[in-house]
Symmetry: D3
Subunit: 244 residues, 6 copies
C-alpha cells in the first residue's frame, strides 16, 4: 500500500495559485503530506499579489519562496494579467498547458470554479481545467516543442469556505499527523504580511478541524475532483466520512 | 496494492436488492470482481418479485440463488411488505440494521435514492441508509443481542440509467477483465424469466461500455458514495475518468 | 395536425386532485382545451376538502361536480385517508393503479412533487407516479381483474406558484382562446365556497398571464413532464417560449 | 401530421459546430432525419480542427464537406479565433447573429453549455445563444444590412456523454429508421482522420442505443431546449420516454 | 431597534427537537439570545433519546430540563413513535399543529430536512413544516378546540454540519456576546451523558467560529428559512456575510 | 425601527443597469421606496441602449434622466463596450470599483447572473460582483486616489421573470403603498420609446402582483442577496412569505 518514490502513483504534483499564498492556505497540508511521501511538487503562482492590501510584491515573492521550501516544493512565477486583472483568455490556457507538458504531473491542484470568490481564483481554475485538456491535443502549434501529456486527475481546492463547490462530492485527505500540521501551519505563517493582522491561519485550521471531525480524524482537507474517480476495486475506494 | 484475504480492506460486502435480480443487473460485475479478490459477499433480497410480469416467485427465487452462486455470494430472502408494496417503516430499517450487525460488512451496496424508478428501489435505498446508522446506536432494544457495528462505506447502485443520481459524483469500477464480464453476463442471464423476452442484459452491457469509454477502460460500473471518501494520501485517490 | 376524436393522440385524459378544487385551479384551462378538441377527461378527487377553512364537504362535492361539467369532464371521489391526512401508502398507489387500468388514459395529470406546499398535494403526486408504474406490472394480485395499461405521459401541474418544480423544464400550453379562458374562469368560480373571500381566481389568471407573456401568447399554463418527451422529428418538438 | 416541404414547421435548420466533426457526432442522425423530411439544413463550422491530434486542416475540411453532402446539408466555414483558441467575444456573437439573419432558421442546433468539455464547445454554445438574441435587436449597426429574425427554438446537442446538461430536461428524437442510422454512421465515418484509430463512432452508437432503450425505440438522440416548449395542446406534447 | 417585550416581534419562539439535546446543539445560542431579549421560548422534545448509545431516558430528560432552564425556555416531552422509530404520519403532524395552536409562536425552529442525517431529524422537520400549515386550516376536527394560528416564519436548524441544506440560502445570527456563548456552552455541557466522551461541544463551537469568520463577527449560527423573507424596506434586510 | 436619514441603515444605494431602462423595470419600486425613506440613490447606466429596436440613444438618455428624477435618484452614464457588446473585462470591473469607492454605498443593486437573458445583463452583474470586491483591495493602483470601501450587501434584481435565479433564496420587498406603485409605474412609462408598443409595464406589474400574493401584500419585488444575510437577532429576520 505504501508506494515507493518511483511508482506511478508518485508522478509529480503540480499546484497552481492566483496569488502567492493561495496554495498554502487552500491545501498546504496536502502538499507536505505528499512531498513527505516522496512525491515531487511544483508550484506555479500567477501574480505577485500586488493588488492586495498588505505586503509589497517583493515581500510576497519572498514569503512564497520560503513557504514552498517548507512544504518541499519548487516554485515559479508566471506573468499573466496581474493580480485582480486575470481574464479567461485562450492564450493563458495555452501557456499553462505548456507548463503541464513540461512538468508532466500525475495530479494537478487548482483553485475551485466557484464564482463568488476573488475573481482571479475561479478564472485560474477554469484556465487550468482547459490547460489540462489542451496539453493532450497534438496539433497545437504553440506547444509543439513538447510532447502531449495526459494528467491523472485534476482536483480543485477551496481557498476559503465560500469557495467550496456544492455540486461536486469532495474527497477528504487526512492531514492529522503532527508533523504535517506543524509544517502546514509554518507554511501559512511564512506569509507574514497576510497573517499578522488577520485570522487567516485560524480560519484554515478551524476548517480542517471541522472536516476532520466529519472524517473521524483530527484534521482533514477537502479536494473536489474534476472527473469521476476510477478504481480497480472497492478495496481502493476509501471509506466514508461520516461518523455515525 | 493487492490486499490479502484477511486484510481490513476485505471486510465482507453486503448487497441489498428489492427484487431477485436487482443486485445482478445493477452491480453484478462489481460483486464478482470483489469475490474473486477474496472478499466475502452476502445478498439480502427483500421480495420474491411476485408483482413482476414474468416468472413465478418459485422460479425467481431459484434464479436468484443460481445467480448468487455464480457471483460467489451467499444469499437470504427477507420478508418486508412484498413486491411493489414496500414502505419506509422504522421497523424495516431496524430489521435491516440487525442484518448489518450480523454480517458486519465493510462495504454496503443498496439501490439508489432516485425516486423516479420502481418505488421499491428508492425505498429500500432509504431503509438501508437508515439501517447503516441504526446499526451504530447502542440503545436500540430490538438490536441488543448483537454489538453495534459501523460500516466502512455505503454505495448506491443504479438498476437502470434513470436511477443514476445527478447530485452525487460517481466512482467508476473497472470490470473489463474477460472473466468478470463473462461471469456478470452469466449471472444476469441466470434470471431467465426476466431476460428471455427483453433486452435487460444488453441494456446493462451498453451502460457499462459507455462508462468504460469514459473511464478509459473497456467496461465500468458506477457506484454513488453516500459520504465523502476519506483517503490517507493522493496516491490512494484514484485517477480521473475523462479521456481527453 | 388536427387529431380526430378517435386518433391515438386523443386517448382519455385522467386528472387527479387531492381536494375538490385542485385540478381546476392548477390546470383547468388545459382540461377545457382538451375536451373541446374531442378528448375524454376524467377527474379523481381524493378528499371532500373537509379540513379546509371554508365550505362543508357537501358544498364542496357539489361545486366540484358543477365545475367538472363546465370543463366537460366526468368525476369520481376516492376515499383515501381524508383531507390533510393523506399518507404515502402502497395500498393507495395500488388503488390509483386500478383506476389507471380502468380509465386507460393517454395522459395523466397530477399535483407536483414539490414538498413545500399542502402535504396532500405532493403525496398524491408521488402516489400517482407510483400508480402509473404499478398499472404496468402484470403480477399484482390486487389488479388482476384488469389488464395492465401503459400511459403515454405523466405531467405534473402546480396548484400555486410555490408548487412549480425548479428541477423539471416546463412545457407551456397556450390557453388564450376566449372560450377557453371564459370556461376556465367559470370552473374556478364554481368553487364559490373557496373563492368568495379570497383572491384565488385572480392568482391563477395572473400566473397564466405571466406565463403567456413568456410564451408569446395571451395566457399559458405550465405542465412539468415526469419523463423526457419523445418526438419523431423536430417538426413536432414545439417552439421555444422566450420572446426575445 | 406529415408536414410538406413548404410548411412553417420546415423552416431551415441551422447547426453550428466548433470543429469539423462536432455536428455529425453530436446530432448527425437528427440532421438526416430532418433533411429526408424536406427541411433545408445548413452547417457553420467555426475552425478547421487544426489543434486536433489527427488530420490536417485540409483533410478535415474535405471530410466535413463530404459528410455534409451525405447528411443533405450545405456547409460553410467561419473564421473566429481558431481551434482551441475560441473566446467569448461580443464580436463573434454578432458575426453569428448575421448568419442567423441570413439563413433565417426555424431551429438552431449548437453544442451544449456544459463547461467541463473541450472549451471551444461550450464557448460556441454561449455565442450561439447570444447570437439568437442579437439577431432580433433592431438597432445593431453591424447587422443593419439584413432584417431582424426570430428563431423558433434553440436546442443544444452533446458531442460526448459528459456534455449532456443535468439541469435541462432533454427531448429525445427517434432515429431508429434503418436509412437514418446508415446515413448517420456513414457521415461519422466520413471523418476518417478522427475515427480510424479511435472508438468515436461506437461511442455515439452506444449512446443512441441507450437512449433508444429509454425511449422505447431502437435508437434515439437527445436535444436540450434552451427555452420551455410551447404547445397548442397536449396532443402535440409527445409521449414520455420511460418504458415501465 | 430594540423591541420591548410586548412588541409583535417578540411573539413566542417554539423550538422542536427529535432528541433531548438536538435544540441545544443545533441552535442553543440563538435561544439564549432571544430569551435574553425578552422573548418567551418553548421546547418540544419528541423522544427520550432512548436509542442513543449513552445515557438513560431518565438522565436525558433531566439533562434536557436543566439545559432548558439555562436557556430560559420552558420544555415539554411529546410521545410520538420513540427514538429512532419516528415516521412521517399525518396524525403526528396534527399533534404538532395542536401545539402550534396552543403556543401561538411567531417563530418556529425545527431540524433541517436534509435526509442524510439521523432519520428522526429530517422526519421531524417535515412533520413540523406540515404542522405549521395544518395549524391554519379551519376545518380540522382534531384541532377544533383551539382557533387557527398562522406563524411568522419557520426556520430550520442543522444539528450537525452534514444537516445544512445546500438549496436554501442561510441567514446568520450573531451570537458573539460573551454571556450568550457562555450560556450556550453551559447548556450543551448540561447534556453530560452525551458530551463526556465525545467532542460534540467542540464541534458546535468550531462551526459557530467558522460561520462567525464568514459573517465578520466572532461566532454565528445559521438558520435556513422555509419561505422567502419579507421586508418593508432595504433598511431591514440585513447586511451581507462576506468579509471581502 | 424607523431609521432616520442619518442612520447607518441609510447609507447610499447604488443601482447599476446595462441599458437605460433596466433598473426601473427590474426594481424601480424599491428605489422609490428607499428614496422616500430618506436614502440617497445613484444610478449608473452602462450603455445608451443603442442596439435596441426602438428609440434613439438621445431619446433613451432623456427618458432615463426623467425616470431617475421621478424615482429621486441621481444618474450617470458609463462608457464600457456599448449596448449588446459588453464583455467581462478586468478593466471594466476596476472602473466600476472606482464608482463604488466614490459613491460609498451601503446597498448595491445589479442585474442577476442568470445567463439565459440579454447577455449584457449577466455580464454587468458579474462585473459588479467583482467590483464590490476590488473596491476593498488596498493595493490596486488604478484605484489609489480613493480609499477602499466595503459595501453592506449586494442584491441582484431580475429585469424579466427568466432572469430570476433559481439557486438563491429571494427576499421580497413590499411595494404596495399607493404612492410607491404610482411613482414606479410613472418611472417605467417615462421610457416611452420602449413601452408604447409593448407590454413591458404590464409584465412588471403582473410579476409584482404575483409576488405580492405570495408575500401577503398587494405588490412585492424580489431581490436576490449575493451573500447570506447577517442579523443581530430573530426579531430582525423578517417574516416568511407564504400565506398558508
Amino acid at each position: 500500500m505504501k508506494p515507493t518514490p518511483n511508482s506511478p502513483e508518485l508522478a509529480p504534483l503540480l499546484a497552481l495559485g492566483a496569488h502567492p499564498d493561495d496554495i498554502e492556505f487552500g491545501c498546504g497540508g496536502i502538499i507536505t503530506r505528499e512531498t513527505r511521501a516522496g512525491r515531487k511538487a511544483h508550484f506555479v503562482v500567477c501574480s505577485h499579489g500586488e493588488a492586495g492590501t498588505y505586503g509589497t510584491p517583493r515581500q510576497r515573492i519572498g514569503e512564497a519562496k520560503k513557504s514552498a521550501v517548507l512544504l518541499g516544493a519548487t516554485i515559479e512565477f508566471l506573468e499573466l494579467d496581474g493580480d485582480a486583472h486575470l481574464e479567461v483568455r485562450a492564450a493563458h490556457a495555452i501557456k499553462l498547458a505548456e507548463i503541464v507538458r513540461r512538468v508532466r504531473p500525475g495530479v494537478v491542484l487548482a483553485p475551485s470554479l466557484v464564482e463568488n470568490q476573488h475573481p482571479d481564483h475561479s478564472r485560474l481554475g477554469k484556465l487550468v481545467r482547459d490547460a489540462a485538456r489542451l496539453a493532450c491535443y497534438g496539433g497545437l502549434k504553440e506547444l509543439r516543442r513538447r510532447p502531449p501529456h495526459k494528467i491523472g486527475q485534476l482536483f480543485f481546492y477551496a481557498v476559503t469556505p465560500e469557495a467550496e463547490p456544492s455540486d461536486i462530492s469532495p474527497v477528504l485527505i487526512d492531514v492529522s499527523a503532527r508533523e504535517i500540521m506543524k509544517t502546514w501551519t509554518a507554511a501559512m505563517e511564512a506569509h507574514a504580511s497576510q497573517t499578522s493582522s488577520r485570522n487567516y491561519v485560524e480560519l484554515q485550521l478551524t476548517r480542517a478541524r471541522l472536516l476532520g471531525t466529519r472524517a473521524g480524524v483530527e484534521y482533514a482537507i477537502a479536494l473536489f475532483p474534476n472527473e469521476p474517480l476510477v478504481f480497480a476495486s472497492l478495496a481502493q475506494a476509501g471509506r466514508g466520512a461520516r461518523q455515525f
